[in-house]
Symmetry: C2
Subunit: 320 residues, 2 copies
Amino acid sequence: MSRAGRVALLAGGVGAARLLRGLAALVRPTDLTVVVNTADDDVFHGLHVSPDVDTILYTLAGLSDPGRGWGIRDDSFRAIEALARYRGDTWFRLGDRDLATHLFRTEELRAGRLLSEVTADQARALGVKVRVLPMSDGRVRTIIETAQGRLSFQEYLVRERAKPVVKSIRYEGIRTAEPAPGVLAAIEQADIVVIAPSNPFVSIAPILGLTGVRAAVRRTSAPVVAVSPLIGGRPVKGPADRMMRALGMKPSPLPLAELYKDLLDGLVIDRADRSHVPALEGRGLRVTTTNTLMNTPVRSTAVAREVLSLADAARTPLAS
Amino acid sequence: MSRAGRVALLAGGVGAARLLRGLAALVRPTDLTVVVNTADDDVFHGLHVSPDVDTILYTLAGLSDPGRGWGIRDDSFRAIEALARYRGDTWFRLGDRDLATHLFRTEELRAGRLLSEVTADQARALGVKVRVLPMSDGRVRTIIETAQGRLSFQEYLVRERAKPVVKSIRYEGIRTAEPAPGVLAAIEQADIVVIAPSNPFVSIAPILGLTGVRAAVRRTSAPVVAVSPLIGGRPVKGPADRMMRALGMKPSPLPLAELYKDLLDGLVIDRADRSHVPALEGRGLRVTTTNTLMNTPVRSTAVAREVLSLADAARTPLAS
């Protein structure tokens, strides 16, 4: 175990989960708090699905499907296939074991419990010791305005396979939803704040957009380090590059540094993007280049180690 | 196809479903209306489960499990097993394919649709041509007062395996719930009314207890024929005999005839109960004895044929 101290991770789905499994190998689980995006939560077949929370929980519990990045390994799809007899709109595929997570969550929420409470129960039931906090108990929803109209994030990503041209992105409810209990404290008390290699628009922006969160990350004296989700200008998974282009940015670590410019001390980028190091350093950032593809637990730990080292280095001021 | 005309069947679960599959082999499906008990509906894991409606639909669709009498043949239980990680109370086992039925029903009901509408959709989706009417779109719930306290019917039957001593049975909501659209008309327009070999207390009584139903069955000029659920004083399935005893009756076709005395023209009983024929005939009933165990489709058709013959015979008055 490193003496990294307390780590707070701002997280989306699969990229975050893979970094997290590396951090969990290096940091005491009880020192690790992950604040998870819930702006792409949605209701399918009457069930409250929290895709990013589930990906985080399943990864930490060792249940995740290594290939897909969602759902439970070796799951079957008998319920959803049977549901197709009754209705056509079964494009959001939920596995049979995965369904249990949504059934439990939905029933507990209906009984008046908070998403953060239910998530804590689920983490405990799955043997997850890292503290997993949904970003908010309130309702925030990412809305993608596209050339084909207004879509929820899952409609855009899963149903339409991220093909519609993005015109703008907004976060319904972001002004009224509050950070979940513990979110601001976790950031304020962290010895390192890490921004996961997640989509900056649909995973990280909703977290930072909650009242007080961005300010807390800006204000902390702890080093703030991000890992770029791009490898050679393309994300491992998801539409981050298309979104960057649609919003007038050239996909690279540079727009990322711009989006997080008031927050970051350091940035871990892939070797494939090393040509951008001078420009990033020119903005006053410490930069580490490494192989950021975390397709095995060993690779996750290696990247996590780079994150912790960079944070350590950032504690001493850059020579100017 | 027989010229039985229109048949209305008052039905509980598996016994009714087995008679129904026989009737459906003899009567045009469009001439057949089944009015199904919903007083043992319940909510499990946030899902609205209608056990008797499901048993009827699955049997007519050829999906039912021949051994169990509930659920779908060859179903798996991965969701419910995964749910056990989150909570202990998974005593009501729902199969993965079966879950789809409850997910669809629950979501449609939450959207404001009526149980009778949703059931019609489900029957259509499953290729069921018989008209399946839940007895009511309102909420009626069988409450079993036992020596161990107040139980819902599923708690009594499934969780407690029908072991607690029954003190009384009541039907919450029965005074305010109305028969579903088409129920009274189906009885009034039927050429034969059949009371299925279902538990008289928890399956048939709630149907008859709805405003206007018992009166409609009493008033019809069509023959009314019941099939006894007992074989040698014991039901094929379920606690009918224990309930009879608990309520001070000796399990036999006689208390059944008493419970339905204002309604029946004829009664089909098992050969094992033939010693009761004189007493039943003494009450003015036409009685057929046969093998009532409908463990194969052929046996279902044979019993259904006896029902139709008895109804035919009942059209001519008994010599006195």
